[in-house]
Subunit: 173 residues, 2 copies
C-alpha cells in the first residue's frame, strides 16, 4: 500500500477537537489542495470561505445548530477553523465539484496531522439571512450555494487503524 | 509539500488511454480505496460496479454517447476499465457520498501510475432500459442511481506539472 492510499484508508472523520489554533501556513496548504480537486470541464467553479475569526465561526455554528435535527450545541465539535465550500447556483455540477473539494480538504488535513470532518447543512445555513450576511462580509453573495463545511483542528485523539468496510459494496461485470 | 498533497496537486483528468489492460490487483486496490471515502453518518451507502468486460464497457460507452451533448464516439476516451459509482436513490447524501468515492478512486489510480477521469451522465445511463439491464446483470436494480463513472487505464501521456489554479477562489473571515 503506498503512502497516498494508506492515508486515504486511515483518514477518519474527527468529532472532537483541541481548541489549539491551527498554524496559518497549514490552513493555507489545506485550502490550496482543495483548489486542485477534479472539476467539471476544468471550470474550477467552487470557492472556499475560510473562517478563523472565532465570532464568525460561532455564528456559523449557531446557524448550523438551527438546522440540525440532532440539535447539538456545537455541530462543529469544537473545531476552531471552518472551511466552507460553496459553488455558483448556476453550476450544474455544483454538488459534485464541491464534494470533491471537500474530499481534498479532508485528506490534505489528515496528511498534515490535522483532524477534519464534513459538516453538512451548508445550503440552509447560507440561505438564512444571517448566513447571507456572512457571505456578504466575505465578498460573496446569494449567487452561491453552500455545499459543505470542512471543520478542521487538532484532533483530541488519533487512531491509526484501518477499519474494515461494509460488505457487498462491489459488483463486477 | 508531503507525498499525499503532491499527489493531489499533480493528478489530472486523463483524456487519452493506452488499450493495455490494467492488472486486476491494481483495479482491486483502487476500488478498495474508494470504499474508504468519507460518507454520511458512516452509512457507507455508495457501491461500485467495476466493468472490465469489453462488451459491457462498450455498451456503457454507447449509452453514454447517447446522452452526451458533445456526441463523442467514445466518451470514455479509450479507457479499458470503467468503475461506475452508484448510490441508493433513497440516500439523502447520494451525490455527495458518491462524489467522494469518485475522488478517492481518481487519486488512488493516480498514486499507482494509472490515469483516470470522471465521466458524467451516469444518472441517465442507468435510468435507460439498457443501462438498467446492465445493473440487473450485476445484481443491482433500479433502487440505485448513477453518480459518475471513473474511467481508468494507462495514460497515453503523463505530466508531472502542477498547474496554477484560477484566482479569486478563496475568501477569508
Amino acid at each position: 500500500m503506498n503512502t497516498v492510499i494508506d492515508s486515504m484508508m486511515k483518514r477518519r472523520s474527527c468529532k472532537s477537537y483541541r481548541p489549539d489554533p491551527v498554524p496559518q501556513e497549514l490552513i493555507d496548504e489545506i485550502i490550496e489542495t482543495g483548489l486542485y480537486a477534479a472539476n467539471w470541464m476544468g471550470r474550477q467553479m467552487p470557492v472556499i470561505l475560510a473562517v478563523t475569526d472565532p465570532e464568525t465561526r460561532n455564528t456559523l455554528s449557531r446557524l448550523n445548530a438551527k438546522y440540525d435535527p440532532l440539535k447539538r450545541p456545537d455541530p462543529f465539535y469544537g473545531a476552531p477553523v471552518i472551511l466552507c465550500v460553496l459553488a455558483p447556483k448556476s453550476d450544474p455540477a455544483a454538488v459534485e465539484d464541491g464534494s470533491l473539494v471537500l474530499g481534498n480538504l479532508m485528506l490534505a488535513a489528515h496528511s498534515l496531522g490535522i483532524g477534519s470532518c464534513w459538516i453538512h447543512r451548508a445550503r440552509p445555513v447560507f440561505e438564512d439571512a444571517e448566513g447571507l450576511e456572512v457571505l456578504r462580509r466575505a465578498g460573496l453573495d446569494d449567487s452561491y450555494t453552500g455545499i459543505g463545511h470542512c471543520a478542521i483542528g487538532y484532533p483530541a485523539k488519533t487512531t491509526d487503524r484501518i477499519i474494515p468496510r461494509k460488505e457487498n459494496r462491489v459488483f463486477r461485470l
